[in-house]
Assembly symmetry: C2
Homo-oligomer: 216 residues x 2
DNA sequence: TTAAATATTTAGCCGTGTCTAAAAATTTAT
DNA sequence: ATAAATTTTTAGACACGGCTAAATATTTAA
C-alpha cells in the first residue's frame, strides 16, 4: 500500500490533471502547501513505483495504475462522506477533514460493505459522482450555473467547491441539492447573474456561479 | 495529537498494566514485536509528553493523562467494532484489524455521533465494555468460565481473547454472546471442564475456559 | 557475595518525508 | 540570441520511528 503521503500526492495529481494536461512541480507544491523541493523528491519516488510518468523539468502525469489508485481514494472519500452525512447526521460542510482521514483506511472488504450499507450511492452529499469499484465514473452531465442562458431552468446538481465556507454560503442562500432555479438576468459587465430560487431572486458573482453545477 | 505509533504504545501499556503493576521494556517489545531498544527510545518520549511515569531500568506506568488517552483509544476501537459488526455485517472475527486502523481517526465529534448512531452501546461485539466519553468503564462483573463451580449455570458474556482463530473456534463450538451454559464436569487433573451448551456436552481446556467470561 | 545470565539503555545507522540554500534547466523578455 | 526571471532539481540537514551492536544495570544462581 502507498503511504498516506503518497496517496495525498496521487489525489492532487488527479485533481490537477482534470484542469491541465501535465502537472507541474510548483502546482503540486502550492496545492499541498509544501516546498517544490519536497515535491520533486516525491515525484521521483512515485515514478519509481509507476504511479506517474515523470521526466525531470517536464512535469508529471498519472499512469493507468496511478489513475486507478486516485479513483479508489476518491471512491473511499466520497463513500465516507455519504456515510457521515446520511447516517451520522453531519452537515455537508463538516465532513471533508474527517473523510480525508478515513479515505486512507486500507480494507477493500470494508469499502465493499460500506457501499452496500449505503445502498450503492452514485453521488456524494455535494453531488460529486462516486467512482465504482473498478474506477468507472459516471458523467452526470452537469453544467456550471454561469453557462446557462437567460430564462433557463434547472436544479442544483452539485457544488464543485467543497470548502466549509463556500458550503456555508450555499446554506445561507438556501441552495441545496435538488433546489430548482431559473436564470432571470445575466449581467454582461461582470458576468454575474440573477437567479430565482425558492421564489426569491438572488444575485451571484461569476466566481460563485462557476462552482454551482446544474442539471437542466 | 499523539502519533499512531505512540497511541499503539499507550494501548499496550494499558493492556499490560491490567495484568502486572509496572510494565517492563521487554514486555512491550515482545507484544509489539519490536526491539527493546526501540521501546526504550519511545518510553523516553512518552515520559517527556507525560503519558507515562518512567524511571530508567524500572519500567513504565501510565499517568492519569496516559490512562485517559488509552481509554479514549479503546472507546474508539470498540465503537468502530460495534459499527462494523452491527451495521456493516462483518463477522466478529474479522473486525479487529480494521478497527485497529479506525481507532486512530482523530475527531471527537465523529465519535460522539457514532456513539449516538449506535445507540450508546455498553459493550462491543466480543462483550468487552466500551469506555464512556469521560473514561468511565463499567464493571460488568463477569467470571472466567474456569472459575465456575460444578453445576453452575450462566450465559456467555464476553470473549476475552479476541484473535480471529479463537473466535472461529468459538463459532465452531456454537458459542456466542448470550448462549446459556452449565458446568457439568470439572476435571481436576488438567483443570479442563465439560459444559452443556445447546443441549450438547462439550469439553474445554483450561486455557480456553479462561478466555470465556460468564454472567452467572 | 560474586560471577553469570538477563534486561535495559546508549550509540550509531537507516528509510521516510519534510525543509533551506544553492545549482541547474527552462522560459520569458529585451 | 542572449540576458534575466522563473522553475525545478540537487545537496545537505532534521525529526520520527524503526534497527543492530555494544555498553551498562539488574537479577539470579553458584
Amino acid at each position: 500500500m502507498a503511504s498516506q503521503s503518497k496517496e495525498d500526492y496521487i489525489k492532487v495529481l488527479y485533481k490537477l490533471e482534470q484542469e491541465n494536461k501535465v502537472v507541474s512541480t510548483n502546482d503540486i507544491a502550492s496545492f499541498l502547501k509544501m516546498k517544490a523541493s519536497s515535491v520533486s523528491d516525491m515525484l521521483k519516488k512515485l515514478a519509481m513505483e509507476e504511479y506517474i510518468d515523470y521526466t525531470k523539468y517536464k512535469g508529471a502525469k498519472l499512469t493507468k495504475k496511478g489513475v486507478s489508485k486516485a479513483l479508489s481514494i476518491i471512491r473511499k472519500h466520497r463513500l465516507w462522506e455519504t456515510f457521515l452525512v446520511n447516517h451520522l447526521k453531519f452537515k455537508w460542510d463538516q465532513v471533508h477533514d474527517i473523510a480525508e482521514q478515513l479515505e486512507h483506511i486500507d480494507s477493500d472488504q470494508l469499502i465493499d460493505k460500506l457501499d452496500h450499507f449505503l445502498n450503492y450511492p452514485k453521488s456524494d452529499p455535494h453531488g460529486d459522482p462516486i467512482p465504482g469499484k473498478n474506477g468507472e465514473i459516471i458523467n452526470l452531465g452537469h453544467t456550471p450555473l454561469n453557462e446557462l442562458n437567460l430564462m433557463d431552468n434547472g436544479s442544483i446538481a452539485a457544488i464543485k467547491k467543497g470548502t466549509p465556507s463556500f458550503l456555508q454560503y450555499m446554506d445561507k442562500l438556501g441552495i441545496e441539492l435538488g433546489t430548482k432555479i431559473k436564470v432571470i438576468d445575466k449581467i454582461e459587465f461582470d458576468k454575474s447573474l440573477e437567479i430565482k430560487i425558492h421564489n426569491k431572486s438572488i444575485h451571484l458573482s461569476q466566481e460563485v456561479a462557476q462552482n454551482i453545477l446544474i442539471k437542466i
